[in-house]
Subunit: 304 residues, 4 copies
């Protein structure tokens, strides 16, 4: 995508928001699991009705967040555990995986901007099977059941002149997958979410969910096939982080707090479309790409 999308982490915010009385919230279910050994916490929010959708401010669907505090620690065993937990969530959320499916994986993002290269990196290392199945049929895989997997990196509009959604729609019309998985780097609203959460949803990628990306919808409504979106915050939105800092500093200290904040944000307009990232971002992206790629290969039972 042309810029990082600031996506509300619905699941985490639902969990953290003490004003939501989960048991009394009609049309919304919240589940939470925590594995002590791997330290992986999974929060799932399922919005089932229009009422639930209105209250939560999000479309009907499933929203999962996997939190792994040490996601970027270079520990191979820990990564395997995170991959396995993520693989399980992916398997659960993709419809119809119990029989052979045709799956198109889209790696959104700009491969030449390090923190935005997550999608491309994952797709570059994915195990694709579609060409082998087309050429040799099941014989290529010992006549076992196999998902027909393909992958593409559509690039960003500034370099292609086209929306990822246009490219994706065109490919879907030609190759007719049953499901589309989209992988994307996100902008978190705080450093607390950075490099430690993975968001999965079956509601795809909605317009307006990103900074400046109001046109770029990759949803079942638009594309005609279910769209599973996997997103990882790899940067923090600069305007948000500055605004929050000012809020914190001003809270309770001044009366016209809100006006001061607005006034300041206006004068800091140049922070729009800017992101905060650390110096080891190349290492972080490598780690996270491996975890997500392994998880997808596992979820789709792909191996060489």
């Amino acid at each position: 995508m042309d810029s990082f999308r600031v996506r509300t982490d619905l699941a985490l915010e639902a969990r953290e928001n003490i004003e939501i009385d989960a048991e009394n919230l009609h049309g919304v279910q919240i589940f939470e699991t925590y594995d002590e050994k791997s330290e992986v916490r999974i929060t799932k929010v399922v919005i089932e009705t229009k009422n639930g959708s209105k209250v939560m401010g999000k479309p009907i669907g499933t929203y999962v967040t996997l939190e792994a505090p040490a996601m970027i620690e270079p520990d191979e065993n820990y990564h395997k555990e995170i991959s396995m937990a993520l693989a399980e969530q992916i398997r659960e959320i993709i419809p119809g995986l119990n029989h052979e499916q045709s799956i198109l994986v889209i790696g959104l993002g700009n491969r030449d901007v390090t923190p935005d290269a997550l999608g491309p990196n994952v797709v570059d290392n994915l195990i694709v099977t579609r060409h082998m199945v087309k050429e040799y049929g099941k014989a290529a895989f010992n006549n076992e059941e196999i998902h027909v997997v393909s992958g593409i990196v559509p690039g960003v509009m500034a370099k292609t002149g086209m929306e990822a959604a246009e490219i994706t729609q065109g490919i879907i019309d030609q190759t007719k997958p049953d499901v589309v998985i989209v992988i994307d780097a996100l902008a978190a609203r705080s450093t607390r979410r950075l490099n430690r959460t993975i968001q999965i949803t079956d509601t795809g990628i909605h317009p307006g969910s990103g900074v400046g990306n109001h046109r770029n919808a990759l949803t079942e409504e638009n594309l005609g096939v279910p769209v599973i979106a996997i997103g990882v915050p790899t940067v923090v939105d600069a305007a948000t982080i500055v605004g929050d800092a000012v809020d914190k500093a001003l809270k309770g200290k001044v009366n016209d707090h809100i006006e001061i904040r607005e006034e300041m944000l206006n004068s800091l307009g140049e922070l729009r479309n800017m992101y905060v990232t650390g110096k080891d971002v190349d290492f972080e992206i490598k780690q996270i790409s491996h975890i997500v790629c392994d998880a997808i290969n596992k979820a789709l039972d792909l191996s060489y």
Copy 2:
């Protein structure tokens, strides 16, 4: 594409083939120009009739070869001259460039294999306008006439699971360009052609014209829009080079020359799909990519 295509250089072979009596060849016209200052030689073969097509063994259409012996010499002025000559040929061969056209540029090839990265490198540096025109209209360009240019790198089947033709067709259906330009690295049949010729044709890329690429047709018949193909030999086909060497060595020396050659080629089966390249191939690809990219930008009047 999944491997380099060994494309007969029709234009050069027409020029070099003393058995073709050009003036008497019905349905085929051959033109040749040589610029002494730039040392650029342009040979154009136009096959106009079915008869000409049968004799030449190629579809009806135009085949241009630009020869520049010092193409990879790192001389910026010389590169400008080659770009200008190439831009002129591109302008002539694309239908309808006198009015605004919508043009999709496809960079075939594997960006991770140095000699096959020509297409991706060219498209990566192309000036695209389509997103600006869609967003702002002509106002973005001083209300002047402007071609609507987009670009894509489809990747290779081994990594995407899809044929470049499928991806291209899908994108064409979505964005409806008037013309498609395809850029591709080729395998030459001899080191004499390497890094010094650029082939341009309006017959697109035909099946069977490449090593192992018999399915991958990017032609007007398949895609529904005119396809201009620009190819540059960046490697030499290994089996060809070995076969030719043996031919040369055996010619006139042995009787059963042909059988020996066949016998040898069989035992050298592992040379199939292998290519000969030099150690400075990264430098060569960079030079050639710049020349081709500049030429396209010039031909389409693209500038920032």
Copy 3:
């Protein structure tokens, strides 16, 4: 370097600081030129005496800042003008360029982190001559005078285990250059300086001038040869930008402004070693790398 260095832009701050009475400042000279056509402004601060050094808080030496507001506008002609202006400044600041010199160019930075890849990109595209001169002597260059140029990308300590200064010292001892030019990406203190200024100094790169780089001195004192440092701010230091935003918001509104700010910065400790960058950073780095590389090639009279 392991992280971006936040370098005080001495020249600009001298110009902007109304408390410095330039004419009365002993031991410091300030020069300023502005070219209307190219819109390039050059500010030069020369600290000549210990007194000047103490007042300015910087070592004796020359500090030049070139400002070009439209540096990242993709305009080739404008880039040529900036390169020429920069080339002139480089020529002036390198000692002894009127006769043949041996010059080692160091591209500091991490090539895998987009905004930190400036140094590596410049050195990758530099015209090096040392191997040709060693092999063929002046005959390779028409027996004309030629500078002996070499280049290296030392990488970052997190990936090599070694300081750039150690690697550089080792290479200097072996190849004995007369001058070293170091190129580095910097962290600006505000978005106003981003992608529009180039800083050149003959005082090298001092310890403590960077975030977390207090050991990494590349100076004449350490290395035994003059060190010219060329730096371009490509990111903004996150802690600085947040602190400044809070300052601006609080100024005049609260009494305990300073304590609030400090308190806030402490709680935002995670912003240390974090940087703000835009989404088009790949495009910006490409533009700036070309400008700096062209300028060095020009300054050293290097051409193919």
Copy 4:
């Protein structure tokens, strides 16, 4: 290195050469092991005396070849087995690994030429410890014994203007490692050796062992520390492959076989410094880089 070195695979040739009567060869010992499960064959040739050196045409030292026919099959388990076997050989051949050593790993090669990027890829993914040990001492590693590991990619002379040996010598003088490990891509003499053998020797890299690299010696004599060289043939030397093909075709068929061959090789002079490679070379290099990198990390007990 500036081009692939065609290194005689001493170990394999010793094994294959029926004219060598191993038991009677004074001053040379040949060992061979074969593991049925992993299909890895290890051949070790130890030249112990001047006589042995003269007969074998190689310096005194140890030469190991590990053959793994399915090295580039994308099978993770198989790769683990090859890595472990290679790790064992590396551990045996590096002097003094039973106590803490300081080890500098050099990744020779051009990272921008796919088949020559083996060295750089391995070093890019190596676990380096030197900076941590310097900063925190053993405390960083639970006070356990740890090798002090550093790594560098010197680049190629065409781009740096300097020999890898010069850069390496400079770094050795500064950081004083106990041992140097050099990783390099090689040119095999036949496709049979391609992507299936790994050569390890403690005689370093000798001048003249490569195409056009007669100056570039990385040996204990030159550098003052033991040099372990690990090489993997990733390309085939073009001149050799053509010459061998002609030999095979001509053998027994013509009298003046040798003259014909020479005559032909002269006219194929352009094949000098050219190499034969396959279209999946990016995938192959990735696989081999992982195997070698894992092996080194294992051999040096490196883990995060």
